[in-house]
Amino acid sequence: MSDRSADGLAGWLRGWGPAVSMASRNLRRNRVRTALAVLGVCIGVLAVAALGIFGNVLALGADDAIGDIGTQVVVSPNADAGVESLSNADVASIRRAVDGAAGGGAAVVPLYSDSATVARQGDQTFATVYGVEEPALAYEAAEGRLPDRHRQGAILGAGIAADLGAGAGDTVEIAGSQVRVIAVLVESQTFSPVAPDDAVYLPESAFSADGYAQALVVSDSGEAARVAADAIREEVNAREERVELFELAALVDEINEFFGLLSTFLLGLGAISLVVAGVSILNVMLMSTVERRQEIGVMRAVGVARRDVLRVLLAEAGLIGAVGAAAGTLLTVLLVAGLVVAAEEVDVALALDPTNGYYLLLALVFGVGVGLVSGAYPAWKAANERPVEALRN
């Protein structure tokens, strides 16, 4: 039984050799018509692949630009409910909530907050001053080193360090007292209400407030941030709305959704041209099968099975699709390469992102598919015509 089906499969495969050979010769009979149909598919595939990649690069670029915007949750006291600051108990319950959340692992960094004049050698600026115990959990140093426990010295945001021309080891004056700079943070890629670039971080001991102004919850991913935020809402706000949460994950979702929509829209635009290409293949195949009606009738008369006639005609349409799709894919690659070379704004890494290959493959498959689908009806029609009708002059 399996032997027989294996034979059947081998026979099925074998039939495609002569079918493709005959098909390619038939296509060469009317080169201009074939070339135009191929061109149609080529343009369609180019449109799908190029627009798909374009949308993808936009989305990737945006993702890159907004970066880990979604990985932070800012927890603030809810002033409407009369909560002025976060107590140690609040912070503890936030920690509990976050640790208990699926994935866990998010760091909770409570912050004191104040503002002060920061000056150095005549330059002076007004800055937010945060009190933080474990800065290394939320930030990275560009210069100097972030201590595990912040006991002394100031950490400057990238913007303020640039304004004052200060680096690690320099001394700045904060609210009248001289403080040594122990580190400068890397420039922030993150849009956050806690903007680190224009802030100064001091040890908690520099503050005499009786509660934290905010707590940062820093996660590895947007998904983890969302889970943490939900956990905090359930745990800390169970009885009363003690805290307000500011999470950007939702915003990021919306941005991603927008880019998803944009990509789909662009793909749709490309698909229209591919459909047009399909119609042109349909037209070419219909014309060609009508012209070759007698030939097909002769093949059937001398004993070529319907299936094999169908194969020859499907192979013709498939070849148009495949050649057009291959050319379109190649053109897309060249186009993207040209764009990378010509436009500096296009990041090479974005253009080479493996997800772009998916769009190339998609366009290639669609090109061949359009050929087969468009060829199916004319092929079926021609193969099923009674030879006695087809042979009639």
Partner: protein, 290 residues
């Protein structure tokens, strides 16, 4: 397709070309036969058109029969029914002694490939294929390569130096020889020709008819539908078809049509009578009730 395996097995057997339907007891019987065949076509106004009217027709292996008659007399229909391109409305059709009246489309296609060769007035070669490829075309989708066989056939027909020529590079006579070679590629028992000399000058036509004689000497039943008196000269028997009614359809007089009703296999009645006109008249009168 389910028939494929059986098809393959048959094609692997070298003897299969000689006995396509493989039934030794009836091997010396008619190559092809029609028994009381009626073919009606629906027509626009009035009743159906009767293209074949109670036709009894048989051709022995090695016999060359010419079917003559005016245009529209049903000659093409006869050829189509004989060649399994069209089904009769009523009556029986036999190929190598096997009833092939009701076959599925796939079975008919296979039977055409294995047992019937066609030669057309317009040659009907595929313009994209070379001479060899045209000859091998009926077997192009089968396992094995028939190119050698095709080349042998072409050489036999004096086209050994034209193997790789395309039809556009061949003369009319050469094209028709290629077409005959194509018809013989599967060693059929029946060769059906529709006006084989219609597009050829007399000299070339004679050459083609000489080829038919050779083919028939190899035991193939040859049927040619024609207007050409030349064909009649070469034929062993000339059958007249007028308004769907046939005269002299059975060889050597043939048996009466009383035989038709019961026994589908015309095994023993073949040489029964010598009464040619009577046998020919019978179906005509039987079918003359329209």
């Amino acid at each position: 397709m389910s028939g494929n395996a059986a098809d393959d097995a048959g094609a692997d057997d070298p003897a299969v070309g000689d006995t396509p339907v493989g039934d030794p007891p009836v091997r010396d019987d008619y190559g092809v036969a029609l028994r009381g065949v009626v073919k009606r076509y629906p027509s626009g106004g009035g009743g159906p058109v009767v293209a074949l009217d109670e036709v009894d027709f048989a051709v022995r292996p090695g016999e060359f029969v010419a079917v003559v008659g005016p245009s529209g007399s049903g000659k093409s229909t006869l050829l189509n029914v004989l060649g399994l391109l069209d089904d009769p409305t009523a009556g029986r059709r036999l190929l190598d002694g096997t009833d092939v009246t009701d076959l599925s489309v796939a079975e008919r296609t296979r039977a055409r490939k294995e047992s019937i060769g066609f030669v057309f007035q317009d040659f009907h070669l595929l313009p994209t294929l070379t001479a060899v490829e045209n000859v091998a075309m009926p077997t192009a989708f089968d396992p094995g390569d028939a190119s050698d066989r095709a080349a042998d056939l072409l050489s036999r027909f004096g086209l050994g130096d034209r193997l790789d020529h395309e039809p556009s590079e061949l003369s009319g006579g050469q094209k028709q020889r290629v077409a005959i070679a194509r018809a013989l590629i599967n060693e059929p028992s029946v060769l059906l020709a529709d006006e084989p000399t219609g597009n050829l000058d007399t000299e070339t036509g004679e050459a083609i008819l000489a080829e038919f004689e050779r083919v028939k000497r190899e035991g193939v039943a040859v049927v040619a539908v024609t207007h050409d008196p030349l064909v009649e000269e070469y034929a062993d028997r000339v059958v007249d078809l007028t308004d769907g009614e046939m005269t002299g359809g059975l060889p050597g007089g043939g048996e009466s049509d009383s035989d038709d009703a019961g026994a589908p296999v015309p095994d023993d009645g073949e040489s029964a009578t010598d009464d040619d006109p009577a046998a020919a008249d019978d179906p005509a009168t039987a079918g003359g009730d329209r």
